[in-house]
């Protein structure tokens, strides 16, 4: 039996999540015994046409041609998986401030330039997506878990617990208890709370956990800091989520 064909494509992003796949090194070779990566622009010359068993999409499309390419992969693939927060949440491209963009267009490209780019949106705004591998960048352990589940014919599963679990396991005291903002309680685990362990807040790059109590977190944040800061925290990764638009934004 021939091995399932996989494509890995990328749009607007930093390519860091693909680097995470490459960094799996021997583990990637092990995994590759079970599938063939037949189209992967970043690392190989080989480029086969579809249909594919699955396509991993890194980044988010912001030009008409990128959107077309994404749609092509959707048609050709049994499964589409978002790889990293740019794909799953619009991530870093989603932070762009519109006003500043206008200004810089003119400075960089001159007055005659006609911008093509649209506002970054998560890929599920354009095509049906089967599963999102969150993270900025995605974690290696998480990737292995994902590929193993896929190869075992299981539906990949989300972690339905908060970053707080991993944060406590890492032995961190709690930022919120210390009156410092953190989005850990509403964020899906999987990153081992690296940001908090490193001295930063969790900004939610792993996406929202199932049934997050955002209102309760807003109450806590309102007691700690001001609305501007709260907006800054939420818009780092979560501004394109429905929950942000419906629950957070009206309260800012």
């Amino acid at each position: 039996m021939s091995k399932p064909k996989i494509a890995i494509c990328d749009f607007t992003d930093c390519e860091g999540c693909q680097v995470q796949i490459i960094s799996l090194r021997e583990k990637l070779l092990d995994l590759e015994k079970h599938f063939d990566i037949v189209d992967w622009r970043l690392v190989q010359a080989k480029k086969e046409k579809g249909p594919y068993f699955a396509t991993l999409v890194e980044g988010t499309p912001i030009t008409p041609s990128e959107i077309e390419t994404l749609k092509y992969f959707r048609e050709q693939s049994k499964y589409i998986f978002g790889l990293g927060s740019c794909a799953s949440l619009a991530g870093i491209p989603g932070i762009i401030s519109k006003e500043n963009r206008e200004k810089w267009y003119k400075i960089i490209y001159g007055a005659g330039y006609k911008p093509q780019g649209i506002d970054a949106l998560p890929i599920q705004a354009f095509v049906k997506v089967d599963f999102l591998i969150h993270g900025c960048p995605v974690g290696q352990e998480q990737l292995v878990r994902f590929f193993e589940e896929l190869m075992a014919g299981q539906t990949p599963s989300y972690r339905n617990y908060s970053v707080c679990f991993e944060c406590k396991v890492e032995g961190n005291p709690c930022r919120l208890v210390e009156k410092k903002p953190c989005l850990g309680p509403i964020t899906q685990a999987g990153c081992k709370a690296v940001c908090v362990s490193g001295g930063s807040a969790c900004y939610g790059c792993f996406g929202l956990r199932t049934e997050p109590n955002i209102r309760a977190l807003l109450t806590i944040l309102n007691n700690i800091t001001d609305k501007k800061e709260i907006e800054r925290y939420f818009t780092m990764f979560l501004s394109r989520t429905e929950e942000y638009q419906k629950i957070v934004k009206p309260n800012l």
Partner: protein, 313 residues
Amino acid sequence: MVQVLEKKQINDFLAELGKKFEIIDARNDILPPKQYFFPPKEEIFTFDKKSARVSIPKIKKDFIIFGLSLPDLEAMVQLDEIMRKPQEDFFYFQRRNRAYLIGLSEDPICLPPVCALPGGDMILEKINEGQYRVLTLTDKGKKIAKSRFLKSFKNIEIKKYPDGLVPMPTLKKMLLDPEYLSDIVAWSWKNDAKIWDDLKDICLGCGICTYVCPLCYCFSVEDRNASRCRQWDACTLPNFAKISSGFNFHKTLKERYYNWFFHKFVRAYKEYGKSQCVACGRCKKYCPAGIDIEKVLINIKEDYEKYLSVAKS
């Protein structure tokens, strides 16, 4: 005769023990001692396809956990009991049987026959600025007490200390009557619904209270590629009571949050005759929403008493 350890020799004592045992200093731990017997995330066995063998984690050395608080020692006695029923939890006792627990108390301890000692194998009790009295509770304790750093005295100076900060003094008292606690918590679900309605709006459902509680022991199991993994679970999490058909027994955070009380104070009383809480205060200390179970229980108690007095008149 009383055995005494000089404060400045605590580290020497531990270093000596360290030649034979692995030493874990728990004094600054956030997570409770259960973590050493029932790790937050653990591969409990792996299966090797080639040899068709199952292998389990091997515990190489006896180990000492040093510096447990009195509530933690008490919790360990209770957790051992829980882990024995209905069947002995193999993975828990595989570690537990290799462990020696040393408690450390900066306050005077109420001794038998007035009180029962809380648990553990040895407790160091501060008796004055420079010295700790060594209390040995078990054979394991006696074994580690054979040290040149522990000196025997006929007369020791015991300074009377004011009671230190008990984390949850009122709750500690309430725990003396677990039947009453069980009754009022069970009563509150329907008759004091406002309490739970308010809490469900404040609680983040993050599960921290459960992780830091020395007497929460829920886990979920996940089968990975040729291995089985178990990981702490928490009843405040959304999928805790979800079964494979997709049905969720606790659909709302209100039900989930209430379950944390129901299990600790109602079900635990039915099953073990006591509450699964030792008033250690961790759940309050680490709750990002500042929820204080002692206050919640006091509120329920007050509402219950009001209800009773109205019912009587």
